[in-house]
Subunit: 450 residues, 2 copies
């Protein structure tokens, strides 16, 4: 079966007019969320480092670095903004594959949209097309690919950005096939990097390399024409159990973006049901932390594998510590970026609280499910069973909650008025002829206005 | 065992003064060869395409594009020159791992050497250090990594360029460990791309990404500190049978570069003993092709796997067709770039000759061994047994043959006088204080002289 060709045809055929209204809404929500978490991380030291290296190399001033005053080349914008969007581990997730599609697609798409002054409709269509292809390729290799140690956002994400940019550049069928091949050939990223700057870098790298794949394909560059189905193509190399049928399953009829999960907490998504459970008990019973003797958590086994760090020493490590997440949920009733600073991770109260947490893997639980039991010194046992974490498709954030998350991240970077204009522009994106306006609004030092 | 740390210490400790004379000579020979094959491919259409995309993105004019008049950013120079050096499939090979180290290391090292005006000694030391680390990491994952379908020059090559650039930038131990981690995290490339523009692109990508890893590490960027030995680090993910002991085997005492094979023919290295055998019979018996009824070739099984294309339709495919290689060896007595053009692949005489070739895999033969039997219409059977191909360490090209290969590639790009000055500069590289001079000499339109 010519999976690569079929995907190329799907990319060609997708039209804004045919997209269901709720699917477009999901894309708008992911754009709000992506810009918010990117703004929130726009002054992270790792972003400074990336910018310094990119400035050493230089480039045409084509696309805006989010939350900054400078423009860089398309490739550097995709790299830096992609990195930025994943720094806080606060960006949205396709839960069935653990892919973070926005972090790989929006940075490349927005850069190209800004440079070529494309319409909001074109952007939304390109993003949705990239999302559907990326997550389906992800489905075909998940979970083995991820379990083996590949950072699926870095590997499969390269396809998503290539698809979105290729769609924006209106490549023909043959060039689309080539763009997919060139993209898959560059897929990279290891889970070994979790808890280091290379984790968000992998999202940026995927955004940049997918963009490069589309630009190269447009220029006539060639790769394999069968990247998805070849015996030693991407899918079979990515997973010995690759199920290629999943690539086309429901394509154009069902939309993976409907399952897009927006994070209420700035840490590994598998810790979220535990945080929900503890916050629920905290609020219901007015706990402050001192009265708690022990916390027992039952979760899907992947949770310990991904976030099993008992004693994190940096904020970044705290994001991958179910113990730290449980501790701040109890003490602060929150798991926002302020709970994952290097300082907060080392304070005495959370260290003590972490030591009281025990985690029990239970394969019968879903990834977004947790049973939390809190034991008090007075002998009480309080239990909360979270079936689906907040932010999941069963329990989505409301638009209002999403806007609040956005504003909390954008505060200190953009004025309140500018935040409002951005939100208005995004909620009305399909009428916008030039997304360059959006880029102007996310630049910190305004160098233009409309 | 802290393999990554030990490698970082080796990189730090390596000094030009301690390198054996013959090892330095091997590095000089590889530089001559690398520049020659790069010049020969410097006007390939795929190079134009890459340049077009890189020019769209722009960058500071830091490093020379070989055989061209322009300077581009360090990253683009590494990418384009790395690609260029592998376009003709004519660059040198570490036969034990099938890695093409020069194509991944020299482009990054020369770009940095040019920009920072580094000495010939620094360049040679950096190249040799990168070569030794790259090929040893290759040894630890070969052959399973390659057999699975990974393009080992693209994956492992990323380490080599990172090491060379990190050495040139004089990174400290901790930053070296980070550079290795950031490099390994970016490792990519599929053998599925063989016969397409993405094959040479993988060499360029490795050169660029290793360079980026070193620049990022210098800027303070972090990755895993255990990229080589972590349970889900590069080596274990690259091969389920990874043998990490090979990474440190003989390090600093034995030199892999002593086995560096310089290609006499512009095609897949595994076809070379076959070509040798046919050319030997052709010359000994004065064959012209018309008298030949059939050619039987016995070779290592990898040969058919890598170069089993029966009916190539492009020059690029011809390089991966043992049938085409055998045909041109018989008819032309050569296997140079002119034998691998789109036109030559389609001419009637080679098509007929290809159809007379049969190939028999024999696991008892080495990769650089072949038994060739030519059957003539007059009933004669002529046989040649090649134990080691020309260019291998047992049968190396002489300096004179290497210079002839260089000049054949550089002809039409550089004047004869300039070729001579380049060769003199390289043979005397250890006395050169500024390798920028070398870069000036490989620019097609001179924009400076000394």
């Amino acid at each position: 079966m010519d999976f690569t060709g079929k995907i190329a045809e799907f990319i060609r055929a997708t039209r804004f007019e045919d997209l269901p209204e709720d699917v477009i809404k999901h894309a708008q929500r992911s754009l709000v969320d992506w810009l918010g978490v990117s703004l929130g991380a726009s002054h992270d030291p790792s972003v400074d480092m990336l910018l310094r290296v990119c400035n050493t190399l230089g480039g045409n001033p084509q696309a805006t670095v989010i939350g900054r005053g400078s423009k860089v080349s398309l490739a550097h914008a995709a790299l830096i903004n992609g990195h930025m969007s994943h720094v806080l581990d606060f960006d949205d997730t396709h839960l069935d594959t653990m892919i973070h599609p926005s972090a790989t697609i929006w940075p490349a798409a927005l850069a190209v949209g800004e440079e070529y002054r494309l319409s909001g409709k074109a952007m939304l269509t390109a993003f949705i097309t990239g999302y559907e292809v990326e997550t389906r390729i992800g489905r075909s290799v998940y979970p083995d690919h991820y379990d083996a140690g590949w950072h699926i956002t870095g590997t499969v994400g390269t396809f998503g950005s290539a698809v979105a940019v290729a769609k924006l550049l209106r490549l023909d069928r043959e060039r689309l096939v080539q763009a997919l091949g060139i993209a898959g050939n560059q897929a990279a990223g290891l889970r070994e990097m979790f808890g280091t700057m290379c984790k968000p870098f992998n999202a940026g790298r995927a955004a940049r390399d997918g963009l490069m794949a589309a630009l190269l394909a447009r220029a006539g560059f060639t790769g394999s024409g069968q990247i998805l189905e070849a015996p030693k193509g991407f899918c079979n190399l990515a997973s010995p159990k690759a199920d290629l049928g999943k690539i086309l399953e429901g394509l154009g009829r069902e939309f993976e973006i409907r399952t897009n999960a927006i994070k209420p907490y700035a840490c590994g998504v598998v810790t979220h049901p535990t945080i929900d459970g503890i916050i629920a008990l905290r609020n219901t019973h007015g706990l402050s932390g001192h009265e708690v003797k022990a916390i027992q958590v039952q979760v899907h086994p992947l949770v310990l594998e991904l976030t099993g760090r008992k004693e994190p020493t940096t904020g970044l490590e705290g994001k991958f510590s179910i113990y730290h997440c449980a501790a701040v949920a109890l003490i602060d009733g929150e798991a926002l970026p302020t709970q994952f600073t290097d300082g907060r991770v080392c304070t005495e109260d959370v260290r003590v609280a972490r030591s009281r947490v025990t985690v029990h893997p239970d394969p019968n639980l879903a990834k977004d499910e947790a049973v939390v039991t809190v034991m008090l010194y007075n002998g009480d046992r309080l239990t909360s069973h979270i079936q689906h974490a907040r932010g999941s498709k069963e329990h989505p954030l409301t638009d209002d909650e999403l806007e609040k998350k956005f504003s909390a991240q954008a505060a200190g970077i953009l004025t309140h008025e500018r935040q409002q204009r951005l939100l208005e522009l995004i909620w009305d994106l399909e009428t916008e002829p030039d997304v360059g306006k959006l880029a102007i609004l996310v630049a910190c030092s305004p160098y233009g206005s409309f």
